[in-house]
């Protein structure tokens, strides 16, 4: 066993006896209103004993575990409590899970983003379980007058073999609340887990398939009004005037007003990216009535900055690719000299459009702001940052602001930017009433915080033996400089130059599932195939050669490279084996590997031959190194979803602009992948190495784009440089 200091916040150990006394249960009325199943009701205890902020033990041995982080479909509401339950040593069937509200005194990093929930929660979740188990053991040791070291636990039962004593956790729960919190606790060895590493079904699975109200849009409170906003129709314009009088008298409409969602003096957080300062609010009795008023309302807008079009973005990015960076992001050796003596040179440029997040549940939030307090409830990836903005926007101390999270109908980065919740609070404050703000699909798609548009140019030099001697990358993005200069192949090439530029635009951008990686992996790994072909080498072996170089004789300071070449090569070797890369010499396969968000993923993608414009994907074989896999059932779901997301968006999706206005506003014009276009089969394999776990929400998406692109080359006989690939047609000849 590993002995660790109990580092979780001491305030997590403010103990309460009994259900009603804990601050944690306040504000749960809505979330707790989802009825429990009959089995759960029958087994509910008479009294709960809170051993720390993460868990409470019932007198009958049931345990409630609080899931601290927002749930966006990445399944943390199941996998995070699994880690607590493991160290507590309780049977999973005896666990109830509750979504915790924002509580910075108890929990750290209540945020869904960067695939970090499991990685950064790992230690504190284990400690919470292990500490409670220790306190239960101490209580038993005192009751039985034996040494605590001789007490063992299993599935919620304490046993002292020598004396023949045995008791369930429930019997010792009351006594355990008065045990002192230990200075250090023993954690289980990584090899001895009984819950971690096993398939556990989603704790909300039954509620989802029966349509129970779990999502922000499902929130209903007595006396609640519905609000919608009208935002500027184009980037570069702001509110000028409107004639709201006729609209105010429409059925079900309470008020129509112009308001400052973000007055100039509001102290913004990074999560307020994309905030629109001035909006129009329509408040009424129902969403549909607000939609009708919205259609009837005539708002005039005035131009305040350039009205940008996609053609402008394309031209401006292309011209940045011609411009050297004054101080290159990274420079090893001398690429110019190497290109001069190279036997072969390969050069290509790749590009991708803006993308909208398009969570299936449009943005929404419930807010009830009174002079005394603010109650916020809804789908948000960044509750803590939201609270900080509200302190400034509402002029209210954090203690008076309650932020609670519902399940989210998708996030993909969009709900990192909680401007919609701030808008809801501002409207509620103005109306002095509980309000649910609802975005229409059109509002949601045309409002911004998009995945930036990108372009990148690569140039590689090979010597006469097909060895990579020079690599030059220069990238540019809208409001984002794109390049991770210390990622592969940095460290594997003697002469390496990375340059990056950002194009300032007024179209707001933000993190979109696997930010930057969602484009650069597809470009880098597709270019790697072009270089391997020029070298006359198998693309998978070519990559392994480079990793050998990075392992055995890295270029520059290996500490600077933000990847581990052995783990990188490891997933490639695993996918090589599992896809029968060497024995099945299908003409239509592509390989790619990428490292991001602390996890390594390699894929082999096989396309069906023939087909129409876009051949269907027969199979994706995927190898993943994310260290310990908490819940394989859900982990595979994340990997599959990322692959489908990557393939779907790179094949079909784009958001374009004309005079500042998004040209797509709903799913009739913005194409998302459909079931009949999805891969026929996906197989996922994990590297078993016992390393502390890392995230899975994002890392499988980026390499899928390159594996697809490389397979497309095999079937179509030409390279695909422009996303979406469906529009990347060969030039007409003749």
């Amino acid at each position: 066993m590993t002995l660790v200091k109990t580092k979780i916040g001491r305030r997590a150990f403010i103990r309460n006896t009994g259900l009603a006394s804990g601050g944690l249960v306040i504000g749960f009325s809505w979330l707790a209103s989802c009825k429990m199943t009959p089995e759960q009701v029958n087994s509910l205890p008479d009294e709960w004993f809170e051993l720390n902020g993460f868990l409470k033990v019932g007198d009958n041995g049931m345990v409630t575990i609080m899931s601290p982080n927002p749930e966006i479909g990445q399944n943390v509401k199941t996998s995070m409590p699994m880690i607590v339950a493991e160290e507590l040593d309780i049977a999973w069937k005896d666990v109830l899970v509750e979504q915790a509200p924002l509580n910075t005194d108890i929990f750290t990093r209540q945020l869904a983003g960067g695939s970090q929930s499991i990685r950064q929660g790992w230690e504190s979740l284990r400690m919470a379980g292990a500490t409670a188990r220790h306190m239960l053991k101490e209580a038993a040791a005192q009751a039985w007058d034996v040494s605590v070291d001789e007490i063992t636990t299993k599935d919620g039962v304490l046993t002292h073999e020598a004396s023949g004593n045995s008791a369930g956790y429930g019997e010792m729960a009351s006594a355990a609340t008065s045990i002192e919190v230990p200075e250090e606790v023993q954690l289980k060895d990584n090899g001895s887990f009984s819950i971690i590493g096993t398939d556990k079904k989603n704790v909300d699975g039954k509620k989802i398939v029966t349509g129970k109200p779990l999502f922000g849009l499902d929130v209903y409170k007595e006396g609640m009004l519905t609000a919608m906003i009208v935002h500027p129709p184009a980037f570069g314009v702001k509110f000028k005037s409107m004639n709201a009088e006729s609209v105010k008298s429409m059925p079900g409409i309470k008020d129509v007003f112009h308001f400052e969602a973000y007055p100039e003096d509001v102290e913004k957080q990074w999560s307020d990216g994309g905030a629109i300062p001035e909006l129009v609010a329509i408040v009424g009795n129902s969403t549909w009535e607000c939609m009708q008023a919205k259609k009837a309302l005539n708002v005039e807008w005035e131009e305040v900055s350039k009205l940008e079009s996609t053609s402008y973005h394309d031209e401006a990015l292309a011209s940045l690719l011609e411009k050297p960076q004054e101080e290159p992001a990274r420079k090893d050796g001398d690429v110019d000299a190497a290109f001069k003596k190279a036997a072969k040179i390969v050069e290509s440029t790749y590009s991708a459009p803006y993308l909208a997040h398009n969570t299936m549940e449009p943005m929404n939030f419930f807010a009830h702001v009174t002079p005394e307090k603010a109650e916020l409830l809804g789908p948000i990836q960044t509750p803590e940052f939201l609270e900080q903005t509200l302190v400034s926007r509402l002029g209210m101390p954090a203690e008076k602001i309650d932020v609670m999270m519902t399940r989210m109908g998708g996030g993909f980065g969009r709900r990192l930017y909680g401007t919609f919740a701030v808008e809801a609070a501002a409207i509620s404050q103005k109306m002095n009433a509980p309000v649910k703000l609802v975005y229409s699909r059109e509002d949601d798609m045309t409002q911004g915080t998009y995945r930036p548009s990108y372009k990148v140019k690569y140039k590689a030099g090979l010597d006469e033996n097909g060895n990579l001697i020079a690599w030059h990358v220069r990238g540019a993005g809208t409001n984002d400089d794109l390049i991770f200069e210390n990622r592969f192949p940095a460290g594997a090439v003697d002469n390496y130059l990375a340059e990056k530029h950002s194009l300032e635009t007024n179209v707001t951008t933000g993190a979109w599932r696997a930010p930057r990686s969602n484009f650069i992996a597809g470009a880098e790994q597709a270019f790697m195939d072009e270089v391997a072909e020029a070298a006359g080498k198998d693309p998978l072996e070519f990559r392994l050669e480079l990793f050998d170089r990075a392992i055995n004789n890295p270029v520059g300071d290996p500490e600077k490279n933000d990847y581990d070449p052995e783990r990188y090569a490891g997933v490639l070797k695993l996918v090589k084996e599992k896809s029968n890369w060497d024995t099945e010499t299908g003409e239509s396969r592509g390989v790619a590997a990428y490292y991001c968000h602390n996890s390594y993923v390699a894929q082999v993608l096989e396309l069906e031959n023939g087909g129409g414009d876009m051949p269907r994907v027969n199979k994706v074989t995927c190898a993943v190194d994310c260290g310990i896999v908490i819940n394989p059932l859900a982990a595979k779901n994340q990997i599959e979803g990322g692959i489908i997301d990557g393939i779907g968006h790179s094949m079909y999706s784009a958001l374009t602009f004309e005079a500042g206005k998004p040209e797509q506003s709903n799913f009739d014009t913005y194409r998302l992948m459909r079931n009949s276009e999805a891969p026929k089969n996906i197989e996922v394999f994990f590297v078993d190495n016992g390393i502390d776990p890392t995230g899975l929400g994002e890392p499988s998406l980026p390499p899928a784009i390159a594996a697809l692109s490389n397979a497309l080359y095999k079937t179509k006989g030409r390279r695909f440089y422009k996303q979406p690939f469906i529009n990347d047609k060969p030039p007409l000849v003749g």
Partner: protein, 158 residues
């Protein structure tokens, strides 16, 4: 405004609302049955799929005045008290990620299996292509429909 009585999940429900209000918003906001989801409002994404006299219909496009005597079944009406085999399969194979689109997916799948108890993979993906899943659960949806056909072999559709 007009008064309507509709048959929802086997029970008559009476209420007053605008005759143009789509059935989706009647279900969600007048009758508080929020299992049927709003996704696009233009019949493109399938999140609002319900059954109207046994046909799968996009409730976001159907005005309440057009419902008449038709029997409406929503996600709340197919698995009570026992889960429908399609719901069982969805749960067993852990299809949902975020879960938001899954009410509509399940309603489409139930309708598919009522029409065709043993669909081929191509028939499954063709019918299920009316429902967008942004999380990318398409592969599991296909597998779950196949599992549901097996569960249904010994268990006739209600």
């Amino acid at each position: 405004m007009a008064t309507y009585t509709i048959n929802l999940n086997g029970e008559d429900q009476s209420f007053t609302c605008d005759e143009n209000m789509p059935l989706l918003w009647v279900l969600r906001e007048v009758l508080q049955k929020t299992g049927t989801k709003y996704g696009c409002g233009i019949g493109q994404c399938g999140a609002c799929t319900i059954h109207l006299d046994g046909n799968a219909v996009r409730s976001c496009m159907m005005p309440i005045s057009a419902v008449g005597e038709a029997k409406i079944t929503t996600i709340e009406g197919i698995g009570d008290p026992e889960l429908h085999p399609v719901q069982q399969a969805w749960k067993e194979l852990q299809v949902p990620q975020c879960g938001y689109c899954q009410s509509g997916q399940i309603m489409s799948a139930v309708h598919l299996l009522q029409q065709n108890p043993d669909p081929s993979d191509d028939e499954i993906t063709e019918v299920m292509s009316g429902n967008i899943c942004r999380c990318g659960t398409y592969d599991r949806i296909k597998k779950a429909v196949r599992l549901a056909t097996k569960l249904l072999e010994n268990n006739q559709l209600p």
